[in-house]
């Protein structure tokens, strides 16, 4: 996939983030996007932001993910990507 950027506003500053992955879910009829500003959290881990958006409209606002089911799915996707990256 071609590299993509997304700009977020964090603490009043516009920060450019790298898009890491995208996926869809037919359970929620939404598409999801994962991206990072490469910031390192206090626990030494890199932050990955994950948001949902309307796949049909596409250019609509990104939405927060609040349900546990969706978060579980995001975790599954990351695990799958991780698995694939090790196999590649």
């Amino acid at each position: 996939m071609k590299e993509e950027k997304i700009v977020i506003n964090k603490n009043g500053k516009d920060i450019e983030c790298d898009v890491l992955f995208t996926f869809d879910s037919e359970d929620t009829n939404k598409a999801y996007i994962g991206y990072t500003d490469h910031s390192i959290a206090a626990n030494g881990r890199k932050n990955i932001y994950v948001s949902a958006f309307d796949p049909v409209l596409g250019y609509g606002q990104l939405e927060d993910i609040t349900s546990e089911e969706e978060i579980a799915m995001v975790r599954d996707v990351l695990a799958e990507i991780d698995r694939q990256s090790r196999e590649d």
């Binding site: 890491l20 626990n43 939405e63």
Partner: protein, 1251 residues
């Protein structure tokens, strides 16, 4: 402007420099590792590593890009050089002259074989070109393409220039006239550019308008859908909802298709505009250069192109000593460019010195030949500064010495190809390059003569070889890129009008960018590149036809003129040869490809229907209760005797054998493709990962936090405007399967359900290994089934209890009458008889009650696992069930003893058939339990605080059904959203200018406002509730910790429950957990004591609770992490156990270490924010309705939070239906009566004593 190739080279240097710098930084950091705080060091180290990785990847990428460019260049060059096959040509010549049929056939076969082989090679090269071009970026690909197209254009220019051929017989006036025509042509060319630009801009404007219209329409569709949903409320039927959703989904997709098409059209038009503008600029530059050199632009352009030809460039490179590699370097190109410019100037000077260029005239002699082209050989002579002595003989075959030829050959390094007929009648092929600039006279030849000579010279003499050499020089010209000048401007229009930039329809192009049927998105880049490469040969103007059947003389007449050019076609003398046919060079044009169809599938939405309606429970009463009370007693509220007992019907005799468990499971799952994860969790599809992230994951350098409450998005990448994958709106097959399965399970007969209930339990479930969705649905159905049984038993128990308590009241009434001295003997006898009748069957009734209770309990929690769970709930007191119902008192031996006496007496009476004794002991036992039961309201709902929990009917004490608990934990999840709401409200307050709504909406908002105010007040007043909630959460964590310890112990000991290893580990785990629990409990109690003592206020207590709960959760997190290390390898080696859920939950906790602490803090904040909600005004709410949906969403979440707070309030305040049932009320009532009577008796006795 530097070429993209050069830019990439520069980028590589920059990458290398940056890498070196980063490595230095890393080394520097490592040297100070000991002096740097650990955390800071790790963070810096990680950041530098990240940047090194990033730079390394960028470097690799750039290097690969250049390699790909080289490969693409080589591939295209080879392809072009391979288009003509000299061997086949020779064979064809042989075939043309051969008369022997056998030999002819052999030659034909060989030609066929060679042709196939050649075609195969061409095909292979074409594939190589497509592949290598596909790997390039758009810019590099275009640059490479342009470099080759320039050379193609050169050929086309030559063809075009053939048209206004100047015949030698024409006078100077004709020449001047021709120049005028050319000038006009140039003007037209510029005009053509302008027209094309205007057309492209018009197309762009139209597409842009369409794009904007589509966006507006889409927004309107969304708004319309939302409005209907809001105004018309829930749909009456599932089908209606499906239709509505499908219709709007369809409209959205269709409009989105139009939007995509418009966007593509815009992109194409923009590309076209850019291309034309570039060509215009290049052409303007060319004109300016020509003006400076005082040469007409056409002549100047020819000179430049000639200089840019491969042969000349090779000579230039040789002069400067540039090899194959170095000439492609930036420096090499710059050097070559400088020399080329110098060559151009020298050629012009030479032409001018020779009088060939005079003012704006062009000579037909010498360096510039008849067709206006500059002679390459002469140009090379100029470069070398020496002349190649050439002269024209009488036979018009020009000869040079062998030594000279070799020199030219070596210099040019051009392959010799045999070619008997030129591409067109005006090429230089039969003619020598003309005289050297110092001796031009002998080179005066005419085109006709030259051509004639050429076709008649079919020998292998040295002269022919020279001709061949020259021809080859012409035909292979241009395989090298030009020297950097924009010489493609002249022919660029062809590319522009027919290339990919033309906004042709998708169908015409054979390309449909968008989604494939499998849901993946199809990019167009490769196709575009292929199109350009493929279409170009096809679009070339047909070369001037070579006719062989007409005499040369006729060339001067009008007959046979090319209608397009007005030229007389070249007609060689008959030689008996087969006419030359240009080799087939066209790649398969992309336009011939079948366009890929975009399949848009209708979305399918499957909703679950309501749970199957259960049949009314039949109430079975085996004994008819007493119809009339003999004595007046306080009537019970329940109409006990009115129900007619339903006699059990005889079971029908079975004629077929009972169905087995597997048969039942086989039938209900027939035709259903049930997946392991069906119904378990959401599934993702169409996962696309960026390469960099995969590589980062592979490196294993990082751990990650998943942040799902994201900051504001400022800008989204354009490419995210994409269509949904097919899958997302397509199959709901999984849901359909579940629905079907659910329906089938709901229709199972009682007999089948009983089979499943009895047989599909315990290890059998694991042994069969069915998908979890089957287990889930079966459990749901069996729970319903079991509860219906319990309900039946409870109904029966209720009847029996009613009978027992009615009987005891009657009995006591009768006894009072018998004891009454006023009662006559006859009446006493009658009452005695009534008493006997009343007591008849009471022992049997009591026995049935005891038996029924046991049976009902078994239905609810049978099996050793259920037993174990019940014990855990009762003994740990950590589950909500345990907290609500388990007792935490010292053993009351006296009470226990009394219970034991009553139990034994009752059993003895039942065994002896002593109805009266059975009834009396039963009533006493029940009353004793009821009197020792105390239920009080608490955070856990109505909680048993007495010594006993009296439950005469079988009760399902399942915390999952407790609405309060469910609400409590949901509240925690949405409190953070509520804070966002308050912030949004505050922000919205300032936006007074958007307050404009109609009255209807205002009314509705007013109502909402009242609710929000009330709910805000509720939230603010529920600090205590939240505190208890946090305590509950903390305690839940300790239980979860215990469970995880147990799970880990099981995993560690390979699930050997009875093993010594298990017991040892289990004991250790329990010891740890007990300590954990005791510590937590003590800490909570300490806070409560401080609050009770007035040392801290409620808000402080709440904050302390939040901190403590967070700490508890962290401890739990540590347990979790430790256990996860055990679970992961275990899960991998024990596929027979589905541990996905356990592992998932644990990994979630590990990935979200801060989530719970954030929630706790949110609870503190939200109660403070409740005051704001409570005082919020309508004016603050109205603007929200016009705000973006995200803020509206937060309002909804806030309202939901408030509603939950309200629910909590109701639950806390509710008195009804939280404990007990009709029977407990009946028992309580009886006990109260007894207590009242006792009190009256004692009062009477005391009065009597006082008297």
């Amino acid at each position: 402007m530097a070429s993209y190739y050069s830019q990439v080279e520069e980028a590589i240097k920059k990458n290398q420099k940056e890498l070196a710098h980063l490595q230095d930084e890393l080394r520097g950091l490592r040297t100070v590792e000991r002096d740097t705080p650990r955390e800071s060091y790790q963070r810096q180290h990680a950041q530098i590593l990240y940047h090194i990785d990033l730079e390394q990847r960028q470097l690799e990428k750039n290097r690969n890009l250049l390699q790909d460019y080289e490969e693409a260049h080589r591939a295209i060059t080879e392809l072009r050089e391979s288009r003509e096959n000299a061997e086949i040509e020779q064979l064809r010549q042989l075939l043309a002259t051969e008369r022997d049929p056998h030999i002819r056939r052999e030659i034909s076969e060989e030609i066929d074989a060679k042709t196939k082989e050649h075609e195969s090679r061409i095909e292979s090269l074409e594939t190589r070109v497509q592949t290598s071009m596909g790997r390039l970026t758009d810019e590099l690909a275009e640059e490479l393409r342009n470099s080759f197209l320039t050379e193609e254009d050169d050929k086309e220019v030559s063809l075009e220039e053939n048209a206004p051929e100047i015949h030698p017989s024409e006078d100077s006036e004709s020449i001047v006239k021709e120049e005028v025509v050319r000038e006009e042509t140039l003007d037209e060319r510029e005009k053509k550019f302008a027209e094309e630009l205007e057309t492209a801009e018009t197309i762009y404007g139209e597409a842009e308008a369409d794009y904007k219209t589509s966006i507006e329409k889409l927004q309107a569709i969304f708004e319309e859908e939302r409005t209907i949903r809001e105004n018309e409320g829930p749909f009456a039927t599932e089908e209606e909802l499906d239709n509505f959703t499908s219709e709007y989904m369809r409209r959205k997709i269709e409009e989105n298709e139009r939007l995509e098409a418009a966007r593509d059209k815009m992109a194409r038009a923009q590309k076209k505009i850019t291309s034309i503008e570039r060509k215009m600029a290049a052409y303007a530059e060319l004109k300016e250069e020509a003006r400076r050199e005082q040469v007409d632009v056409v002549t100047y352009e020819k000179i430049k192109k000639t200089v840019a030809s491969k042969e000349v460039l090779d000579a230039v490179y040789e002069i400067k000593g540039l090899g194959e590699v170095s000439r492609r370097s930036k420096k090499g190109k710059e050097t070559a460019n400088e020399v080329s410019q110098e060559v151009v100037r020298r050629v012009i000077e030479q032409l001018r010195a020779d009088g060939i260029i005079s003012g704006q005239n062009v000579s037909q002699q010498g360096l510039i030949n008849q067709n206006g082209a500059v002679n390459i050989i002469d140009t090379i002579n100029i470069i070398y500064g020496t002349d190649i002595p050439v002269k024209a003989g009488d036979s018009r075959t020009i000869t040079i010495t062998t030594e000279e030829k070799e020199r030219v050959k070596e210099t040019q390094k051009v392959k010799v190809k045999v070619r008997k007929v030129p591409h067109n009648g005006n090429e230089q092929e039969g003619k020598t390059p003309g005289k050297a600039p110092t001796d031009m006279e002998g080179a005066k030849v005419t085109v006709t003569e030259t051509s004639t000579e050429e076709t008649t010279t079919e020998t292998t003499t040295e002269e022919t070889a020279v001709e061949t050499e020259t021809t080859t020089t012409e035909t292979t010209t241009g395989t090298e890129t030009n020297t950097g000048t924009e010489t493609d401007s002249e022919t660029g229009t062809d590319t522009g009008t027919t290339g990919t930039e033309e906004p042709v329809s998708d169908d015409k192009k054979g390309i449909v960018d968008g989604f494939n049927p499998d849901g993946t998105y199809r990019l167009r880049k490769d196709q575009i590149i292929q199109d350009d490469l493929a279409r170009k040969p096809e679009e070339k103007k047909p070369e001037t036809p070579v006719k062989t059947d007409k005499p040369v003389e006729s060339a001067k007449t009008d007959e046979g003129k090319n209608p397009g050019t007005g030229m007389v076609p070249y007609e060689p003398k008959p030689t008996g040869m087969v006419p030359y046919k240009p080799p087939v060079t066209d790649l398969v044009p992309a336009g011939t490809k079948e366009p890929t169809k975009v399949q848009v599938h209708e979305p399918v939405q499957v909703l679950y229907g309501p749970p199957p309606v259960q049949k009314p429970i039949e109430v079975k009463v085996t004994e008819k209760p007493t119809e009339k009370p003999v004595v007046p007693v306080k009537p019970t509220e329940k109409p006990q005797p009115t129900k007619e007992p339903v006699k059990p019907t005889d079971a029908p005799k079975k004629t077929t054998p009972k169905r087995g468990l597997i048969t039942i499971l086989d039938e209900i799952t027939e035709g259903l493709d049930l997946k392991a994860k069906d119904g378990k969790r959401y599934k993702a599809s169409n996962i696309k990962c960026f390469k960099g992230f995969k590589e980062e994951l592979k490196s294993g350098n990082y751990l990650y936090n998943i942040v799902h409450l994201v900051p504001a998005i400022v800008k989204l990448p354009f490419s995210l405007i994409r269509k949904a994958s097919g899958k997302i709106m397509l199959r709901a097959e999984s849901k359909k399967n579940i629905k079907t399965l659910k329906e089938r399970i709901s229709k199972l007969s009682e007999e089948d359900l009983m089979t499943i209930y009895k047989e599909y339990r315990g290890s059998r479930v694991i042994q069969e290994g069915f998908p979890s969705i089957l287990n889930t649905l079966l459990e749901e159905r069996i729970q319903q089934f079991a509860m219906s049984k319990v309900s039946q038993i409870n109904s029966e128990l209720e009847q029996r209890y009613a009978r027992a308590f009615a009987s005891i009241r009657e009995l006591e009434g009768l006894e009072r009458l018998i004891r009454d001295p006023k009662t006559s003997a006859e009446d006493k006898k009658k009452y005695e008889q009534a008493k006997k009748d009343l007591l008849k069957g009471q022992a049997q009734n009591i026995a049935a009650i005891r038996k029924g209770y046991i049976a009902a309990n078994e239905w609810m929690s049978g099996g050793s696992h259920g037993f174990s769970e019940d014990m855990k709930a009762a003994t740990t007191k950590l589950s909500v069930v345990g907290k609500r119902f388990a007792k935490d008192h010292d053993l009351d031996r006296e009470l226990l003893h009394r219970q034991a006496q009553l139990e034994q007496a009752e059993m003895r009476a039942i065994a002896d058939g002593n109805d009266e004794m059975a009834l009396r002991t039963f009533i006493q036992a029940e009353t004793l339990l009821s009197q020792n039961t105390e239920i009080n309201g608490s955070i856990f709902g109505k909680r048993s605080t007495g010594k006993k929990y009296y439950s005469p009917l079988a009760e399902q004490l399942d915390y999952r059904d407790d609405p309060f608990v469910r609400d409590l934990f949901t509240t925690i999840a949405v409190t953070s959203a509520a804070i966002s709401t308050v912030q949004s409200i505050k922000a919205a307050k300032d936006q007074a200018d958007i307050i404009a709504e109609n009255q209807r909406r205002m009314d509705r908002n007013n109502q909402t406002m009242d609710q929000v105010n009330q709910m805000g007040a509720d939230i603010a007043g529920k600090r205590g509730t939240m505190m208890e909630g946090m305590e509950a959460q903390g305690m839940q964590d300790t239980l979860a910790g215990a469970n995880e310890i147990e799970r880990a112990v099981l995993d560690k000991t390979d699930w050997g429950l009875g093993t010594r290893a298990y017991r040892t580990a289990d004991n250790a785990g329990h010891a740890y957990y007990t300590s954990f629990y005791d510590g937590t409990k003590a800490a909570y109690e300490n806070i409560a004591q401080q609050y009770a003592a007035g040392q801290i206020n409620q808000a402080q207590a709440m904050q302390m609770m939040a901190d403590l709960t967070t700490k508890t959760h962290q401890t739990f997190g540590n347990i979790n992490d430790a256990c996860l290390d055990i679970l992961r390898p275990y899960a991998q080696t024990h596929p027979q156990f589905d541990l996905t859920g356990v592992q998932g939950a644990m990994e979630y906790l590990q990935a979200n270490p801060d989530a719970f602490s954030a929630m706790n803090q949110a609870m503190v904040d939200v109660t403070n924010a409740g005051d704001v909600l409570a005082s919020m005004q309508l004016e603050q709410l109205i603007p929200l309705t016009t705000l973006p949906s995200t803020i509206r969403t937060t309002i909804i979440n806030g309202a939901a939070t408030a509603a939950l707070a309200s629910n909590i309030n109701n639950t806390m305040g509710a008195k009804k239906h939280t404990y007990g049932n009709d029977v407990t009320e009946m028992v309580e009532e009886y006990a109260e009566e007894q207590a009242e009577r006792k009190a009256q008796r004692e009062q009477a006795n005391s009065r009597g004593n006082s008297k």
